[in-house]
Amino acid sequence: MKSPLIQIASAPPAPAAGSAASGGQEAFDPAAGAGVQNRRGFLKSLGLAGAGAALAGCGTGQVEVLPYVVPDARRTPGEPVRFATVCRECPAGCGMLMRVHDGRATKAEGNPDHPLNRGKLCLRGQSALQGLYNPDRFAGPLLRDARGRWQSLSWEAALARLAQEISSVEREGRAAESAWLGGLENGALGALVDDWLRANRYPPRLSYEAYSYDALRLAAAAVFGQPVIPGFDFAPARYLVAFGAEFLETWLSNVEYARQFAAMHSYGHTRHPARFVFAGPRLNLTGANADENWQLEPGAEPLAMFALAELTARRLHRRLDWPAGVQPPAFSAERAAAAARVPLDVIRRAARRLVRHRPSLVLGPGVANDDEQAVFTHLAALRLNQMLGNVGVTVFPDRPHALSAAAWQSQVLDLFGRARRGGVRLLFLHHANPAFHLPAAAGIRAGLERIPFIVSFARQMDETTQSAHLILPDHDPLESWGDYAPRPGLAGLLQPAMRPVFDTRPTGDILLWLARHFRQSLPGAEPQPPVASMLPPSAGVIAGAHPGASGELNDPATLGLGGHPSRLAPAPESPASPNLPSSAAAIPAPEGSNLRSSPNLPQPDPDDALPPAAVTNFDQYLRRRWQSALAPGAAPEEQARIWRRFLAQGVWVAPGAAASPSPRQVASIRASSPMPAGPLVLPLPHPTLAPAAPGPPPPAPPLRLAPAGPAKFRGSGRFTLLLYPSIRFFDGRQANRGWCQEIPDPLSKICWDSYVEIHTAVAQPLGIREGDILRLDSPYGAAEFPAHLANGLHPAVLALEIGQGHANFGRFANQRGDSPGKLLGAQLAGGAWLPGFQIQVAARRLEKRRNLANLQIERQQWDKKIALAVALADADTAAAREPEMRATWYSFHPYPHHRWAMSVDLSSCIGCNACVAACYAENNIPVMGRSACMSHREMAWLRVEVYAGDSRHPPTRMNPDLRFIPIPCQQCDNAPCEYVCPVFAAYHTDEGLNGQVYNRCIGTRYCSNNCIYKVRRFNWFTPQWPAPLDQQMNPDVSVRAKGVMEKCTFCVQRIERAERSAKIDRRPLRDGEIQPACMQTCPTQAIVFGDQKDSRSRVAQLQRRARSYHMFYEENCFPAVNYLKRVKFELNST
């Protein structure tokens, strides 16, 4: 009988009780519960509830403990191991360390050795685990029968069916009419697919990405001659202008850019911050961090950019010449600025500053603004960068981004045009979902219907795969081999962190099997003389474990070892450990998972050598490809050793590559690691054989630019529809994740719902209130969205988030509202290569309502000094200091050893909520569903609040002064929550933490009422983790049952683990050795944790800064979290 604290599987879900949530029954809604309760369940649980407490001690159930059959000297049950891999949640390709507890991946962290993100991850990166354990993933191959129903079948039958289809295509001679529409694969898998397609004489593959930056690539082709996306480095810039590019959210490589942006713009990182100007019709999260906001007319970006370029050229006394084929606009800069409604002196001032502050960086519009007008804006921006000499300093055309190899939107539209005409016989879908990303008017579904046979390697059902005929589910990136090069000269390696969760096969293995089946020889997979076993004779092989990622794992024994965990002898699901208190042990293995080793095609025994015949597994193909590249002539043992070191490190940097990780940040973490300091730089003799740099970009269609004039939009509606990419769902691929849905949008603070943003001043006269459903009519279709009244956008604009509105994508993503795709047109604009996004829509209020789950209903600070700002001039002077006085009748706490404290720099915080996602992942925080969030019952221990200015500095149009403030538990000295708890569940530990003992709490909730920061959350229902999501749980953190209060604990499990190993090794704790999950993943290092008693620690130094203050200091709670005021160039006067 389980103790009542753990009621995961057994307790019945709770019935719907939130306020009248209109709309159908939610697919995933634990708070909505199972509706009809049977009598037996009711009585059983009454009994359970009644006798729950007394049963904690006498467990009568029998629990098995399984030892190893063959032990692995390298793995200690209970101690986490980290495997280096790459985050494939978006094309940025950040390096990732996957923390694994006893064979279960539990936490994603950044790889400090990867020069791109240097140990940091964004919100989507942290949610990668919810992709791995997603309950809606395919459990095995599926075949659609005649009546359209999916039948599951064995792998052998599925592969046979595919082989039969391929041979029939061969017989019909329609090989040229097949197509491979896949994701962006530029590593070994990309090479394998190309070789396989070539072997079958299929046309080359299309790497489909919804955000393919066509406009930027065309502009680059005009300016630099190559249609590639240049690399950007924000750090050296002294002045930054962005015309809508969301480089802190979803643009290209947002974690890298966030770090660089903080290095240039945050007062915490530099005493001379650079100014950032944002221009665009809608203020997105990136614009919220700007110092100047030009609210342009919708579609006026080219005019404003042209005016800026023209005025800058005049100051540089040079003529602005345009590349061949581009007619210069026929009007002056002054008229363009007037048309864009931006004051001319503002543009003139910006031009002056661009000239004075060198180097600088000018960026064009964001991805949602990808039409022919955008090409001109990008072109003008790149020309401006050239004129200002930024090329080679902040703009690097020689280091093209991997996305340069993405297919043009026109190529995809042509493919489906052909399909509609019956010209496509066989389609391979490899993680591409055009049916959702492209507009409905593009006729994707009609094209899919006409294709006789579609094979999809998707991991879960999506809008495109539902038209497929055969599904061969691929491994999740976290359980598969591979590599990915974000830019030439930099490659990250993927290795499986754990045994596959479902009965899935890597696509590479399938292609190799097909090649063997049809007796084709692929270049990388030829038979080779037997190579001595790569593997140490005795022990099994574990994948490379990265030493000392966060300083915890300093056991030299776990040197990285290449190999696939599945190669272990059937290591038991719960390894040998008698009283394994980890909550994972108490969770039964998910029914669906087979936990067998991956593809059991004739599986070579781990210990003997590679088979003389052709390579059978993709990991062998990958290893052979890399080993021959890394150490071509070396002896096998040497090759194996280098391969294992590279596997453990997870990243390969070509010699001489410019961007190397910042020394201070990497050194401080790797002090104890046996690996040599600095990245693993290996000689690379054969540039040609270098792991696939992004392939040669497809030929660019002819460049004909219309003259830049006032924007012409299709449709006659009053509003301009503007789509913006979502920081939580990217292009919609992360929509089926509980964390991404429940963590609110950083600006609107709305979760779980899709909504249309409308300006407050426009909505009120029309009688539109928050939550009223608006019907939008565009020339191409109609859709309905609940209205959200916002202030950050142009009154003539309606804004929709890309990513929501899935029809068939899983329990978390379905029923979240309409899809923006219905409104968009697909006929290509102007030069027949760019789908037109910007259209005019008419909005009409319907009588229906759908209440929005808004987690922060108030944006004003009501003069309560929560998020404070200070002008740059007196940032370090006494004027910034808050008059804080510590007055108490009682003596202060005698902290004998440590006083853990945290410092948050509001200048560095960009409001990206990555810390909130990391907190969800680390502390087993449950997802509560939409109806719970409607009444603020989400369980986030950490929330990032957003305020618009304060009472003394009201926001203005030019300076919206949005301030983000992450609020964890402040661990107060005189905590108001402690003295009111009747059972000592909340009390103060002698290391300064505010303890919350879950099993002692009886749920009076007085502590939450009395907390002035409102950081305490209550378990209203028994939390639900649909299998296999419960495998993601961190065994070091107790799982809370219903009726228990919980809050941020400064990641006490990490504190305890570090203190324990320091005590046993008899050494003092190093500053920075303990990193709570939020600090570890913050891309801008805004959060610093440490021991306040140690005066040399970084957090103590930050507390002594002039601009340091505590929230609600008048209440004498003496919080341990101090904030550093946001430094702005100039503050708005009242």
């Binding site: 009682y890 929550c977 009390y987």
Partner: protein
């Protein structure tokens, strides 16, 4: 009268004579006569009035119940302080920066227990002094003593029966009857045991 005495079963000793009176004055008069005659007497009062009780027992105004209440109160207060301080010191957890032994809340607990134990011991004192609860009634008890009649039992030996009867008659007793000293079965009224002569 003698007939009743005649059919008195032999062997049950006479406890005394009881008389019922209509008003308090007659009872007081009877009590004064009995005291004058040096006979021990026990009064029964339907409406518990302070003044009447003071007149009936002039000498013993101080009732030991007060002592029980005082001791109970002091004991409760002390017990509360002991409990709260000992328990706080047994596992000293710092809470809200407040000292381990913080007097304001402890004083409240002490006040509550002072009142509680005072009241409980007061009740116990009543039960002890009035020798309640009893299942067997005093032989002299009549149902109307609780409703509207006053009663007086004069304990006398058979010899003094005549004197007692005279006293009661002198105080205008409505009815006078002999009272046997016998043990009544639980919860049964004396009247139901044998038919007392009117």
């Amino acid at each position: 009268m003698s007939a009743a005495a005649a059919n008195r079963p032999a062997g049950t000793p006479l406890l005394g004579l009881a008389g019922s009176f209509a008003g308090a004055e007659q009872l007081l008069q009877a009590r004064r006569l009995a005291d004058a005659a040096g006979l021990d007497s026990e009064a029964f009062v339907p409406a518990p009035e302070e003044a009447l009780i003071r007149k009936l027992r002039p000498q013993s105004t101080q009732n030991p119940v007060r002592l029980w209440t005082l001791l109970g109160g002091i004991g409760g207060g002390a017990a509360a302080f002991a409990m709260t301080i000992w328990m706080s010191k047994n596992w000293p957890l710092v809470v809200g920066g407040k000292p381990i032994v913080s007097m304001p809340p402890f004083i409240d607990v002490a006040f509550e227990w002072t009142v509680l134990f005072g009241a409980v011991f007061c009740a116990l004192g009543l039960l002890r002094i009035a020798r309640l609860p009893r299942l067997r009634f005093s032989p002299a008890y009549r149902p109307e003593f609780v409703v509207d009649r006053y009663g007086l039992l004069i304990r006398c030996s058979p010899a003094e029966e005549a004197l007692a009867r005279g006293l009661l008659a002198g105080a205008q007793a409505e009815r006078i009857w002999p009272v046997r000293a016998r043990l009544l079965p639980p919860l049964t009224l004396p009247a139901e045991v044998e038919d007392e002569e009117e």
